[in-house]
Symmetry: C2
Subunit: 196 residues, 2 copies
DNA sequence: CTATTATCTTAAACTAGTTCAAGCGGTTTT
DNA sequence: AAAACCGCTTGAACTAGTTTAAGATAATAG
């Protein structure tokens, strides 16, 4: 077996158990790919064809609004799935850029292969049902707790929760992820460091 | 068969097909309940026990932030599912109020019954997998397209998309759903009506 | 039908965060 | 080693949306 795929199998088997035969079928649709820093995984105009599970590295997804401003939608490192999920689910052209922030290795599973296997393997369908329900619930929950927070509180909470990302990702990207200007984040960091 | 449950079956069979036996098992876990205007379906401190599918009426879910302000999270009418989804999924006490906006009839399916049936019936697991994936993708997509919009643009787009809700739901609730003060929404509506 | 309470409107003062602009180090390209 | 570029900082002017407050209108209970 390709041991490099073990992290993906571990992730899935945290939620469901697969038989030997099912594991084999799953591994058969997996492909490992590498991306260089600044390379795009998805980009506007192209349909997002894969679910991508990060083995090593970091990605971010972002879009550019009508006034030309960048908005970072997701920051993903090891053990996260990343893509323009709307494009993947609807199989229509992407609106997001999904860009490597470091040299990255990931596992790709094609849309049709996943859909086929979900129809065939009940446990896999359950894996995606359960994890997507959880991801949906958590994402809403997080969005809500952010709603009544100041920009400073949002940054402090996020940095405490994802110190690894705070270290590896540029301040400009973090600001656009947290919904503020880089200038304002700079001011916040100055204030924080002067306070303690 | 209980014909009042037909809308729910239609909704499910838009995505998957169920055998006669599967339909029977599903209907066996469904209960129809009615709520009076202003009655709570979920509230902070109590675990959300059901998936609720609205047959007739309207609900909204909201929370109260540390400064005492209400934020409406979801507005739901006929054919929508409604609950404190985070509480339902994690089976921990709710943080949201889910309150009837009109006298409402809905179908309730208990958490344990659903989880049991999803393990048993592959098609049902697929129904929830597919619809949750879509709901997740669409909710992110909508959140993004709202990000770079003014309060006025958000209201105009929302009202054009959900005219029915715009008619039935109070302006105060709509404002808190769209993330602005009722005063500001009032100004927007005045401006709109003076423009055309 | 009347009293009460909630919703909607309007306007003036206010603020969190943006925009613009300029300068500073570091790093990639030539 | 220069040139061009990128990310970070700093400050002053600005604005979309909030806050506060008070009056007008509508809904609901008794």
């Amino acid at each position: 077996m390709r041991t490099e795929l073990q992290p993906l199998l571990n992730q899935i088997q945290r939620y469901v158990s697969l038989t030997e035969g099912e594991i084999e079928k799953l591994l058969a649709i997996c492909e490992v790919k590498t991306f260089r820093k600044r390379q795009f995984l998805d980009q506007p105009g192209f349909v997002s064809g894969y679910r991508n599970y990060i083995l090593k590295g970091a990605f971010r997804s972002y879009f550019i609004d009508p006034e030309g401003k960048e908005h970072t939608v997701q920051i993903a490192i090891e053990d996260w799935f990343v893509s323009d999920f709307y494009s993947y689910i609807t199989q229509t052209p992407a609106t997001l850029f999904v860009e490597a922030q470091e040299d990255t290795t990931l596992v790709q599973m094609a849309y049709k292969d996943i859909e086929g296997l979900c129809k065939e393997i009940h446990a896999l369908s359950e894996y995606f049902r359960i994890t997507t329900e959880r991801a949906f619930a958590f994402s809403r929950h997080r969005a809500l707790s952010g709603i009544s927070m100041s920009a400073e509180a949002r940054y402090l909470e996020w940095a405490a929760r994802y110190p690894e990302m705070d270290r590896r990702i540029s301040q400009k990207v973090i600001a656009s992820y947290l919904g503020m200007t880089p200038e304002f984040l700079s001011k916040i960091k100055k204030k924080i460091s002067s306070e303690c």
